[in-house]
Symmetry: D3
Subunit: 142 residues, 6 copies
């Protein structure tokens, strides 16, 4: 039996939608108030979806404590209570939209994942809620 | 990188589950209290899922303000604070169940979408919550 | 020990914000789209707050099944899946705003309550959510 | 037109993460506090996803009252207010993790489903929320 | 300036509504399925309300980390993942309804509070959600 | 009949818990990660509670559109998508904790309220959710 496990994490951070390669006016035209110089923030929610068989002994697809440690170390510890533009190197030149945030989360999981779980435990997707009405999903396919 | 964007909208409306081609008794047998003559209402929630690449300059898959305007004009302006049976022509002879509501939403998006976004921006699905426990999803496939 | 019990109920209904004593234009000026002729609806939530001592034998302040039956019979059975303006006599000449809905709920509880619970079980207030952002609270004081 | 219907149900139950084939210490090592001898509980939420065409007469994909009766009889009546380890035979020797709970729910639906709905009404998946942050999804494929 | 701080905590536990001083039949008559012998559980939510002036230096009414430690040590560590009837001595002979749970929480806070915060930091009330629809509030007055 | 109206608004902003009158180390000791130099953010929710009689003609306690305009102009327009420390003068030397945010919201309402509503429309309290688990309430008494 193969199941999909969804595991959700929350963190608060600041971002500014601003591309340093463009001028002020152009950023303002593209991002509106989201380009305000000092940034604004969100209570972000991240959900990982992991596909795996179920261990017949434990009845679990993946040890959640292991997954939690991996996500804490690879992602949350760097993002929580941070200004993503200023304090996360990946967003120095990349606009920290929810889309790029999802891409960075997946990139970090690609680095941290190997060796942590058996090969049959597959990270399928990452979803990020910026607010209840704005969601970005990134599949880990191909 | 291809992502899926989820964007949620809410509106309040009235509907009556009643097929004018059938008699009172038959409607009552099929729809129960939902066939009450004066209708009842819901705080509906709609979520669109859009698949797209991420623009390397803006970091965004789709300009949300453009999507919001499209949805406001094509759907919400006609549905918000309306009686779907009486005020939305599509439901004159079609029962405004959540299923048919999703079909009408997708039909309207098919009309309004072309030319608004580049061809690579794909509307994948529509989901409607009538209540937190009743959901209808319609894929925009094939 | 005196506690307050909160108990929540949901129902879906239609209302139209319209005062039949005023003309169309005046209603439109006051209520805007909420005056649309065929009404619109909501998933309403009602919460009753009941103050009571705790029964030392049952550990309960009030038997919830008794409260549920009272609310079902006195309120929900008449409101659920109904058009409040057309099908609830109290709203024939009274605009079914959330305020007046709370007043009507309290009036009905005043009729149904006596004799159901011991005198020490006090109905303290009624709260109604029309949406997550619009709430009306009515105290049962004096 | 083919749609997917999501229908959600809630129930409260107790479980203990404990494999009787292993010793106390091993259970404690695997499940931590979740192995506490007397169990702990959750307000579980189950969502079924059903794929179906839409009946042109009723505008519905599946009669919800029929689905509700099936789920009540096959699942909720046995799980609600129960200790899953002690009172549901399937979990006598199988650890009632959310994964195994989803498998048992699907197994019961496989027994109850045939003959209830037309063949074109397909049960696609089962999702269970143990908490808002722990979700297990089981596809009914192959 | 005096403010009220609300702070919420969650924990999962099992309870059985059963008064050992009464017989099986009487318990069943009072508590219905909630008297099932092996108990059932909930994802409980507790909210404390604390009234206090605001420290002009920190801008805070009460150091949340201190409050969190107090609640963790005095309440959550004993309740989380536990069977309240079997593992919390206070409920050996007292039915662990939400009402009695609130009383026990307040009793424990009365023991743990003194000396932790300045005298001007007042615990005003405790609220417990057993489910989204069942709430018990206990004031810390007189 | 006097009712209480609750009206909720949301906005996203950044804050840094940092008192410029103290040194780095002291700020870090008091505020921990919340003192990170570039700030972090939240999806804040504000709820105003307004007490008023119900207008017998409109059935409303307070015209919500008027209240919404007042709150938009006096509060949201300045706070939305802003860094509270850097862009809201009140927080130049005052730490923008939720407590101080509530005090500033109330101060602004004191300025904007008079003349907008009849004297019998009383602003009773302000509540702010920083997250679902952190709430600050400020009464407008005396």
């Amino acid at each position: 039996m193969t199941v999909r496990i969804g595991r959700r994490y929350g963190f608060s951070a600041t971002h500014r939608l601003f591309n340093p390669a463009l001028g002020e006016a152009e950023n303002r035209a593209i991002f509106g108030k989201c380009a305000n110089p000092f940034g604004h923030g969100h209570n972000y929610e991240i959900e990982l979806t992991v596909r795996s068989g179920v261990d017949p002994v434990t009845g679990m697809a993946v040890p959640l404590s292991k997954l939690d440690t991996l996500v804490e170390d690879a992602i949350l510890a760097d993002f929580r209570h941070r200004n993503l533009n200023e304090e996360v190197p990946a967003f120095r030149e990349v606009v920290p939209t929810t889309e790029n945030l999802a891409i960075e989360v997946l990139r970090r999981l690609h680095v941290a994942w190997p060796g942590t779980f058996p090969a049959a435990v597959i990270l399928e997707k990452v979803r990020i809620w910026e607010t209840e009405r704005n969601i970005c999903e990134l599949s880990n396919e191909s």
